[in-house]
Assembly symmetry: C2
Homo-oligomer: 199 residues x 2
DNA sequence: GTCTATATTTCGATAGAC
DNA sequence: GTCTATCGAAATATAGAC
Protein backbone atom coordinates (compact mmCIF):
# COMPACT_ATOMS: atom_id res chain seq x y z
CA UNK A 1 0.00 0.00 0.00
CA UNK A 2 0.92 3.57 -0.61
CA UNK A 3 4.30 3.62 -2.30
CA UNK A 4 3.86 7.38 -2.02
CA UNK A 5 5.02 9.14 -5.19
CA UNK A 6 7.04 11.53 -3.03
CA UNK A 7 7.85 14.02 -5.73
CA UNK A 8 10.99 16.14 -5.29
CA UNK A 9 10.18 18.71 -2.62
CA UNK A 10 10.11 21.61 -5.03
CA UNK A 11 8.53 20.00 -8.04
CA UNK A 12 5.21 19.69 -6.30
CA UNK A 13 2.21 21.25 -7.94
CA UNK A 14 0.89 24.42 -6.38
CA UNK A 15 -2.27 22.47 -5.88
CA UNK A 16 -0.37 19.81 -3.95
CA UNK A 17 1.42 22.39 -1.87
CA UNK A 18 -1.89 23.93 -0.90
CA UNK A 19 -3.10 20.52 0.22
CA UNK A 20 0.06 19.94 2.25
CA UNK A 21 -0.36 23.22 4.10
CA UNK A 22 -4.04 22.49 4.55
CA UNK A 23 -3.18 19.24 6.31
CA UNK A 24 -0.86 21.09 8.67
CA UNK A 25 -3.43 23.72 9.54
CA UNK A 26 -6.34 21.31 9.79
CA UNK A 27 -4.31 19.41 12.38
CA UNK A 28 -3.34 22.55 14.28
CA UNK A 29 -6.63 24.42 14.27
CA UNK A 30 -9.20 22.10 12.76
CA UNK A 31 -10.93 22.44 9.41
CA UNK A 32 -13.59 24.95 10.40
CA UNK A 33 -11.33 27.25 12.36
CA UNK A 34 -8.85 27.41 9.51
CA UNK A 35 -9.55 30.19 7.04
CA UNK A 36 -8.48 30.23 3.42
CA UNK A 37 -6.63 33.43 4.22
CA UNK A 38 -4.38 31.52 6.63
CA UNK A 39 -3.65 28.81 4.10
CA UNK A 40 -2.79 31.40 1.50
CA UNK A 41 -0.59 33.44 3.82
CA UNK A 42 1.43 30.43 4.86
CA UNK A 43 2.14 29.80 1.19
CA UNK A 44 3.04 33.41 0.57
CA UNK A 45 0.22 34.45 -1.66
CA UNK A 46 -3.36 35.61 -1.41
CA UNK A 47 -6.71 34.02 -0.77
CA UNK A 48 -7.93 34.60 -4.30
CA UNK A 49 -5.02 32.60 -5.65
CA UNK A 50 -6.22 29.61 -3.70
CA UNK A 51 -9.57 29.95 -5.41
CA UNK A 52 -7.85 29.56 -8.74
CA UNK A 53 -6.81 26.03 -7.72
CA UNK A 54 -9.88 25.02 -5.73
CA UNK A 55 -13.49 25.94 -6.37
CA UNK A 56 -14.35 26.11 -2.68
CA UNK A 57 -13.12 25.29 0.79
CA UNK A 58 -15.08 22.05 0.69
CA UNK A 59 -13.23 21.22 -2.47
CA UNK A 60 -9.97 21.21 -0.53
CA UNK A 61 -11.39 18.82 2.01
CA UNK A 62 -12.72 16.68 -0.79
CA UNK A 63 -9.28 16.48 -2.37
CA UNK A 64 -7.85 15.32 0.94
CA UNK A 65 -10.64 12.80 1.19
CA UNK A 66 -9.56 11.43 -2.16
CA UNK A 67 -5.95 11.19 -1.01
CA UNK A 68 -7.14 9.08 1.90
CA UNK A 69 -9.38 7.06 -0.32
CA UNK A 70 -6.62 6.27 -2.78
CA UNK A 71 -4.34 5.13 0.01
CA UNK A 72 -6.96 2.86 1.53
CA UNK A 73 -8.33 1.49 -1.72
CA UNK A 74 -5.48 -0.95 -2.25
CA UNK A 75 -5.22 -2.06 1.35
CA UNK A 76 -8.95 -2.60 1.72
CA UNK A 77 -9.63 -4.01 -1.73
CA UNK A 78 -10.90 -7.23 -0.15
CA UNK A 79 -13.90 -5.50 1.39
CA UNK A 80 -15.94 -6.40 -1.69
CA UNK A 81 -17.04 -9.88 -0.67
CA UNK A 82 -18.43 -9.69 2.86
CA UNK A 83 -18.13 -13.44 3.51
CA UNK A 84 -14.46 -13.81 2.80
CA UNK A 85 -13.54 -10.60 4.59
CA UNK A 86 -13.39 -12.04 8.08
CA UNK A 87 -10.81 -14.58 6.99
CA UNK A 88 -8.78 -12.00 5.15
CA UNK A 89 -8.94 -9.47 7.95
CA UNK A 90 -5.51 -10.17 9.45
CA UNK A 91 -3.84 -9.80 6.08
CA UNK A 92 -5.92 -6.77 5.28
CA UNK A 93 -4.89 -5.11 8.50
CA UNK A 94 -1.30 -6.09 7.95
CA UNK A 95 -1.25 -4.28 4.65
CA UNK A 96 -2.74 -1.26 6.33
CA UNK A 97 -0.15 -0.72 9.04
CA UNK A 98 2.73 0.46 6.89
CA UNK A 99 0.54 2.74 4.84
CA UNK A 100 -0.83 4.32 7.99
CA UNK A 101 2.64 5.01 9.28
CA UNK A 102 3.95 6.34 5.98
CA UNK A 103 1.07 8.81 5.73
CA UNK A 104 0.56 9.46 9.39
CA UNK A 105 -0.12 13.19 9.07
CA UNK A 106 -2.95 12.64 6.66
CA UNK A 107 -4.63 10.15 8.95
CA UNK A 108 -4.13 12.26 12.05
CA UNK A 109 -5.78 15.11 10.20
CA UNK A 110 -8.71 12.84 9.40
CA UNK A 111 -8.98 11.67 13.01
CA UNK A 112 -9.18 15.20 14.27
CA UNK A 113 -11.77 16.36 11.74
CA UNK A 114 -14.18 13.46 11.58
CA UNK A 115 -17.24 15.70 11.80
CA UNK A 116 -16.15 17.77 8.82
CA UNK A 117 -15.46 14.70 6.71
CA UNK A 118 -18.81 13.16 7.59
CA UNK A 119 -20.59 16.32 6.48
CA UNK A 120 -18.69 16.14 3.23
CA UNK A 121 -19.89 12.62 2.79
CA UNK A 122 -23.50 13.63 3.30
CA UNK A 123 -23.23 16.05 0.41
CA UNK A 124 -21.84 13.44 -1.97
CA UNK A 125 -24.68 11.20 -0.84
CA UNK A 126 -27.06 13.17 -2.96
CA UNK A 127 -24.87 12.75 -5.99
CA UNK A 128 -22.98 10.15 -7.91
CA UNK A 129 -20.84 7.17 -7.12
CA UNK A 130 -21.27 5.17 -3.98
CA UNK A 131 -18.04 3.43 -3.26
CA UNK A 132 -18.46 4.42 0.34
CA UNK A 133 -15.48 2.86 2.07
CA UNK A 134 -16.57 3.52 5.63
CA UNK A 135 -20.01 2.17 4.82
CA UNK A 136 -18.58 -1.06 3.47
CA UNK A 137 -16.63 -1.42 6.67
CA UNK A 138 -19.74 -1.04 8.77
CA UNK A 139 -21.44 -3.59 6.56
CA UNK A 140 -18.75 -6.16 7.23
CA UNK A 141 -18.84 -5.56 10.96
CA UNK A 142 -22.61 -5.93 10.98
CA UNK A 143 -22.61 -9.16 8.97
CA UNK A 144 -24.44 -11.66 11.16
CA UNK A 145 -22.99 -14.70 9.40
CA UNK A 146 -19.72 -13.90 11.16
CA UNK A 147 -19.57 -14.76 14.88
CA UNK A 148 -20.00 -11.72 17.09
CA UNK A 149 -16.73 -12.13 19.00
CA UNK A 150 -14.85 -12.17 15.72
CA UNK A 151 -16.57 -9.02 14.53
CA UNK A 152 -15.89 -7.20 17.78
CA UNK A 153 -12.26 -8.18 17.63
CA UNK A 154 -12.09 -6.97 14.06
CA UNK A 155 -13.34 -3.56 15.15
CA UNK A 156 -10.93 -3.57 18.07
CA UNK A 157 -7.97 -4.44 15.91
CA UNK A 158 -8.64 -1.54 13.62
CA UNK A 159 -8.88 0.88 16.50
CA UNK A 160 -5.78 -0.62 18.06
CA UNK A 161 -3.68 -0.12 14.95
CA UNK A 162 -4.88 3.41 14.43
CA UNK A 163 -4.30 4.29 18.05
CA UNK A 164 -0.82 2.79 17.99
CA UNK A 165 0.11 4.60 14.82
CA UNK A 166 -1.27 7.94 15.97
CA UNK A 167 1.05 7.83 18.95
CA UNK A 168 3.99 7.34 16.60
CA UNK A 169 4.66 11.05 16.28
CA UNK A 170 4.01 11.64 19.94
CA UNK A 171 4.72 9.30 22.81
CA UNK A 172 6.51 6.94 20.42
CA UNK A 173 8.29 9.67 18.52
CA UNK A 174 11.71 8.08 18.90
CA UNK A 175 10.65 4.58 17.92
CA UNK A 176 11.83 3.30 14.53
CA UNK A 177 8.95 2.47 12.21
CA UNK A 178 10.10 -1.09 11.67
CA UNK A 179 10.06 -1.80 15.38
CA UNK A 180 6.63 -0.30 15.81
CA UNK A 181 5.30 -2.32 12.89
CA UNK A 182 6.67 -5.53 14.39
CA UNK A 183 5.05 -4.90 17.76
CA UNK A 184 1.75 -4.01 16.15
CA UNK A 185 1.78 -7.15 14.06
CA UNK A 186 2.37 -9.19 17.19
CA UNK A 187 -0.51 -7.50 18.97
CA UNK A 188 -2.81 -8.07 16.02
CA UNK A 189 -1.90 -11.71 16.03
CA UNK A 190 -2.90 -12.04 19.66
CA UNK A 191 -6.14 -10.27 18.92
CA UNK A 192 -7.11 -12.10 15.74
CA UNK A 193 -5.06 -15.29 15.65
CA UNK A 194 -6.66 -18.72 15.39
CA UNK A 195 -6.00 -19.37 19.06
CA UNK A 196 -7.80 -16.19 20.11
CA UNK A 197 -10.83 -16.68 17.90
CA UNK A 198 -11.26 -20.28 19.00
CA UNK A 199 -11.93 -19.30 22.59
CA UNK B 1 -17.08 4.46 37.23
CA UNK B 2 -19.96 6.62 36.20
CA UNK B 3 -22.98 5.58 38.27
CA UNK B 4 -24.68 8.27 36.20
CA UNK B 5 -27.09 10.31 38.32
CA UNK B 6 -29.77 9.77 35.70
CA UNK B 7 -32.21 12.32 37.03
CA UNK B 8 -35.88 11.85 36.15
CA UNK B 9 -36.24 12.85 32.50
CA UNK B 10 -38.14 16.02 33.27
CA UNK B 11 -36.41 17.17 36.40
CA UNK B 12 -33.29 18.02 34.48
CA UNK B 13 -31.97 21.51 34.72
CA UNK B 14 -32.44 23.69 31.67
CA UNK B 15 -28.68 23.89 31.62
CA UNK B 16 -28.46 20.11 31.48
CA UNK B 17 -31.05 19.90 28.75
CA UNK B 18 -29.06 22.35 26.68
CA UNK B 19 -26.01 20.18 27.07
CA UNK B 20 -27.96 17.06 26.07
CA UNK B 21 -29.18 18.71 22.88
CA UNK B 22 -25.71 20.05 22.23
CA UNK B 23 -24.31 16.53 22.33
CA UNK B 24 -26.89 15.40 19.79
CA UNK B 25 -26.16 18.24 17.41
CA UNK B 26 -22.40 18.11 17.83
CA UNK B 27 -22.61 14.47 16.75
CA UNK B 28 -24.89 15.18 13.81
CA UNK B 29 -23.27 18.32 12.43
CA UNK B 30 -20.10 18.85 14.41
CA UNK B 31 -19.35 21.62 16.90
CA UNK B 32 -18.46 24.36 14.42
CA UNK B 33 -21.31 23.76 12.04
CA UNK B 34 -23.83 23.82 14.88
CA UNK B 35 -25.21 27.27 15.65
CA UNK B 36 -26.65 28.35 18.96
CA UNK B 37 -29.83 29.15 17.09
CA UNK B 38 -30.24 25.47 16.22
CA UNK B 39 -29.66 24.36 19.78
CA UNK B 40 -32.21 26.88 21.02
CA UNK B 41 -34.80 25.96 18.40
CA UNK B 42 -34.61 22.27 19.20
CA UNK B 43 -35.35 23.16 22.80
CA UNK B 44 -38.24 25.40 21.84
CA UNK B 45 -36.84 28.75 22.82
CA UNK B 46 -34.58 31.41 21.48
CA UNK B 47 -30.88 31.91 21.10
CA UNK B 48 -30.69 34.64 23.71
CA UNK B 49 -32.12 32.29 26.31
CA UNK B 50 -29.17 29.97 25.80
CA UNK B 51 -26.87 32.88 26.57
CA UNK B 52 -28.55 33.22 29.92
CA UNK B 53 -27.27 29.75 30.84
CA UNK B 54 -23.92 29.84 29.10
CA UNK B 55 -21.59 32.77 28.66
CA UNK B 56 -20.45 31.65 25.22
CA UNK B 57 -20.46 28.80 22.78
CA UNK B 58 -17.07 27.73 24.04
CA UNK B 59 -18.58 27.58 27.48
CA UNK B 60 -20.93 24.85 26.31
CA UNK B 61 -18.04 22.83 24.97
CA UNK B 62 -16.18 23.41 28.20
CA UNK B 63 -19.10 22.07 30.22
CA UNK B 64 -19.12 18.95 28.06
CA UNK B 65 -15.39 18.66 28.57
CA UNK B 66 -16.00 18.65 32.30
CA UNK B 67 -18.63 15.93 31.98
CA UNK B 68 -16.04 13.80 30.20
CA UNK B 69 -13.42 14.70 32.71
CA UNK B 70 -15.58 13.74 35.68
CA UNK B 71 -16.40 10.39 34.11
CA UNK B 72 -12.77 9.60 33.42
CA UNK B 73 -11.38 10.90 36.69
CA UNK B 74 -12.46 7.87 38.70
CA UNK B 75 -11.50 5.31 36.10
CA UNK B 76 -8.11 6.83 35.47
CA UNK B 77 -7.27 7.82 39.01
CA UNK B 78 -4.24 5.52 38.91
CA UNK B 79 -2.50 7.68 36.36
CA UNK B 80 -0.85 9.59 39.19
CA UNK B 81 2.17 7.34 39.70
CA UNK B 82 3.68 6.65 36.28
CA UNK B 83 5.66 3.63 37.50
CA UNK B 84 2.79 1.60 38.81
CA UNK B 85 0.50 2.47 35.93
CA UNK B 86 1.71 -0.21 33.55
CA UNK B 87 0.85 -2.92 36.06
CA UNK B 88 -2.52 -1.43 36.81
CA UNK B 89 -3.37 -0.84 33.17
CA UNK B 90 -5.57 -3.92 32.68
CA UNK B 91 -7.64 -3.04 35.73
CA UNK B 92 -7.72 0.58 34.70
CA UNK B 93 -9.02 -0.34 31.28
CA UNK B 94 -11.49 -2.76 32.76
CA UNK B 95 -13.03 -0.02 34.81
CA UNK B 96 -13.23 2.14 31.75
CA UNK B 97 -15.24 -0.16 29.52
CA UNK B 98 -18.57 0.03 31.30
CA UNK B 99 -18.34 3.77 31.74
CA UNK B 100 -17.65 4.19 28.05
CA UNK B 101 -20.68 2.14 27.13
CA UNK B 102 -22.98 3.84 29.61
CA UNK B 103 -22.03 7.27 28.27
CA UNK B 104 -21.43 6.33 24.68
CA UNK B 105 -23.01 9.42 23.16
CA UNK B 106 -20.75 11.72 25.07
CA UNK B 107 -17.64 9.89 23.94
CA UNK B 108 -18.78 9.63 20.35
CA UNK B 109 -19.30 13.37 20.39
CA UNK B 110 -15.77 13.84 21.68
CA UNK B 111 -14.37 11.49 19.07
CA UNK B 112 -15.99 13.45 16.25
CA UNK B 113 -14.91 16.87 17.52
CA UNK B 114 -11.35 16.31 18.60
CA UNK B 115 -10.10 19.47 16.91
CA UNK B 116 -12.59 21.65 18.74
CA UNK B 117 -11.71 20.13 22.10
CA UNK B 118 -8.02 20.56 21.51
CA UNK B 119 -8.52 24.25 20.76
CA UNK B 120 -10.45 24.53 24.00
CA UNK B 121 -7.54 23.00 25.81
CA UNK B 122 -5.12 25.50 24.34
CA UNK B 123 -7.14 28.34 25.79
CA UNK B 124 -7.19 26.88 29.28
CA UNK B 125 -3.46 26.40 28.91
CA UNK B 126 -2.96 30.07 29.53
CA UNK B 127 -4.96 29.92 32.71
CA UNK B 128 -5.35 27.91 35.84
CA UNK B 129 -5.27 24.26 36.83
CA UNK B 130 -3.29 21.71 34.93
CA UNK B 131 -4.81 18.36 35.63
CA UNK B 132 -4.47 17.62 31.96
CA UNK B 133 -5.75 14.07 31.63
CA UNK B 134 -4.69 13.49 28.05
CA UNK B 135 -1.26 14.85 28.86
CA UNK B 136 -0.82 12.44 31.75
CA UNK B 137 -1.74 9.62 29.42
CA UNK B 138 0.91 10.66 26.92
CA UNK B 139 3.36 10.84 29.77
CA UNK B 140 2.71 7.26 30.79
CA UNK B 141 3.00 6.01 27.23
CA UNK B 142 6.30 7.85 26.82
CA UNK B 143 7.78 6.53 30.05
CA UNK B 144 11.00 4.80 29.01
CA UNK B 145 11.23 2.69 32.16
CA UNK B 146 8.39 0.60 30.74
CA UNK B 147 9.30 -1.77 27.90
CA UNK B 148 8.29 -0.44 24.50
CA UNK B 149 6.12 -3.41 23.51
CA UNK B 150 4.12 -2.98 26.68
CA UNK B 151 3.60 0.70 26.02
CA UNK B 152 2.52 0.10 22.45
CA UNK B 153 0.07 -2.53 23.56
CA UNK B 154 -1.28 -0.14 26.18
CA UNK B 155 -1.97 2.41 23.48
CA UNK B 156 -3.50 -0.27 21.29
CA UNK B 157 -5.77 -1.55 24.02
CA UNK B 158 -7.17 1.90 24.61
CA UNK B 159 -7.88 2.40 20.93
CA UNK B 160 -9.34 -1.08 20.72
CA UNK B 161 -11.81 -0.49 23.53
CA UNK B 162 -12.87 2.88 22.19
CA UNK B 163 -13.29 1.50 18.71
CA UNK B 164 -15.31 -1.44 19.97
CA UNK B 165 -17.57 0.74 22.05
CA UNK B 166 -18.11 3.30 19.31
CA UNK B 167 -19.51 0.58 17.10
CA UNK B 168 -22.00 -0.32 19.82
CA UNK B 169 -24.67 2.01 18.51
CA UNK B 170 -23.89 1.10 14.95
CA UNK B 171 -22.76 -2.23 13.59
CA UNK B 172 -23.26 -3.78 17.04
CA UNK B 173 -26.52 -2.00 17.73
CA UNK B 174 -28.38 -5.19 18.63
CA UNK B 175 -25.69 -6.55 20.94
CA UNK B 176 -26.48 -6.55 24.67
CA UNK B 177 -24.00 -4.47 26.65
CA UNK B 178 -23.04 -7.33 28.93
CA UNK B 179 -22.06 -9.49 26.00
CA UNK B 180 -20.01 -6.72 24.42
CA UNK B 181 -18.25 -6.07 27.70
CA UNK B 182 -17.36 -9.74 28.05
CA UNK B 183 -15.89 -9.94 24.57
CA UNK B 184 -13.91 -6.75 25.07
CA UNK B 185 -12.52 -8.01 28.36
CA UNK B 186 -11.40 -11.17 26.60
CA UNK B 187 -9.71 -9.22 23.86
CA UNK B 188 -7.95 -6.97 26.36
CA UNK B 189 -6.67 -10.02 28.16
CA UNK B 190 -5.14 -11.36 24.96
CA UNK B 191 -3.57 -7.98 24.32
CA UNK B 192 -2.25 -7.26 27.80
CA UNK B 193 -2.16 -10.58 29.63
CA UNK B 194 1.01 -11.94 31.19
CA UNK B 195 1.37 -14.45 28.35
CA UNK B 196 1.21 -11.71 25.72
CA UNK B 197 3.64 -9.36 27.43
CA UNK B 198 6.15 -12.15 28.07
CA UNK B 199 6.65 -12.75 24.37
C1' DG C 1 -35.75 33.32 32.27
C1' DT C 2 -37.06 34.33 27.97
C1' DC C 3 -37.96 37.50 24.30
C1' DT C 4 -36.95 40.91 20.07
C1' DA C 5 -33.86 43.54 17.98
C1' DT C 6 -29.17 44.88 16.73
C1' DA C 7 -24.20 45.43 16.84
C1' DT C 8 -19.89 43.40 15.27
C1' DT C 9 -16.97 40.44 13.04
C1' DT C 10 -15.33 37.05 10.11
C1' DC C 11 -15.26 34.34 6.32
C1' DG C 12 -16.37 32.22 1.91
C1' DA C 13 -16.79 33.60 -2.60
C1' DT C 14 -16.73 36.74 -6.86
C1' DA C 15 -15.29 40.51 -10.16
C1' DG C 16 -12.08 42.33 -12.76
C1' DA C 17 -7.29 44.32 -13.45
C1' DC C 18 -2.61 42.82 -14.44
C1' DG D 1 -1.77 32.58 -11.92
C1' DT D 2 -1.89 36.03 -8.80
C1' DC D 3 -3.53 40.42 -7.19
C1' DT D 4 -6.92 44.13 -4.84
C1' DA D 5 -11.40 45.23 -3.58
C1' DT D 6 -15.80 44.11 -2.33
C1' DC D 7 -20.22 41.65 -1.65
C1' DG D 8 -23.28 38.96 1.00
C1' DA D 9 -24.26 35.63 4.37
C1' DA D 10 -24.05 33.80 8.77
C1' DA D 11 -22.87 33.48 13.34
C1' DT D 12 -21.46 35.08 18.03
C1' DA D 13 -22.61 38.07 21.31
C1' DT D 14 -25.05 42.10 23.60
C1' DA D 15 -28.84 45.50 25.02
C1' DG D 16 -32.85 46.17 26.91
C1' DA D 17 -37.99 45.18 27.31
C1' DC D 18 -41.20 41.95 29.51
Amino acid sequence: MAPKPAAPPDERTTRERILDIAIELFIEKGYDKTSLREIAERLGFSKAAVYYHFASKDDILLALHLRLHDLLREALAGLGEPDATADMWPLLLDGLIEGLIANRQLFVMHERNRAAFEQLHDKRHHEGDHEDLEGQLRGVLADHTVPLPTRVRMACSLGAVISGVMMAGDAFADVPSAELVAILRGAMNDLLGAAALAR
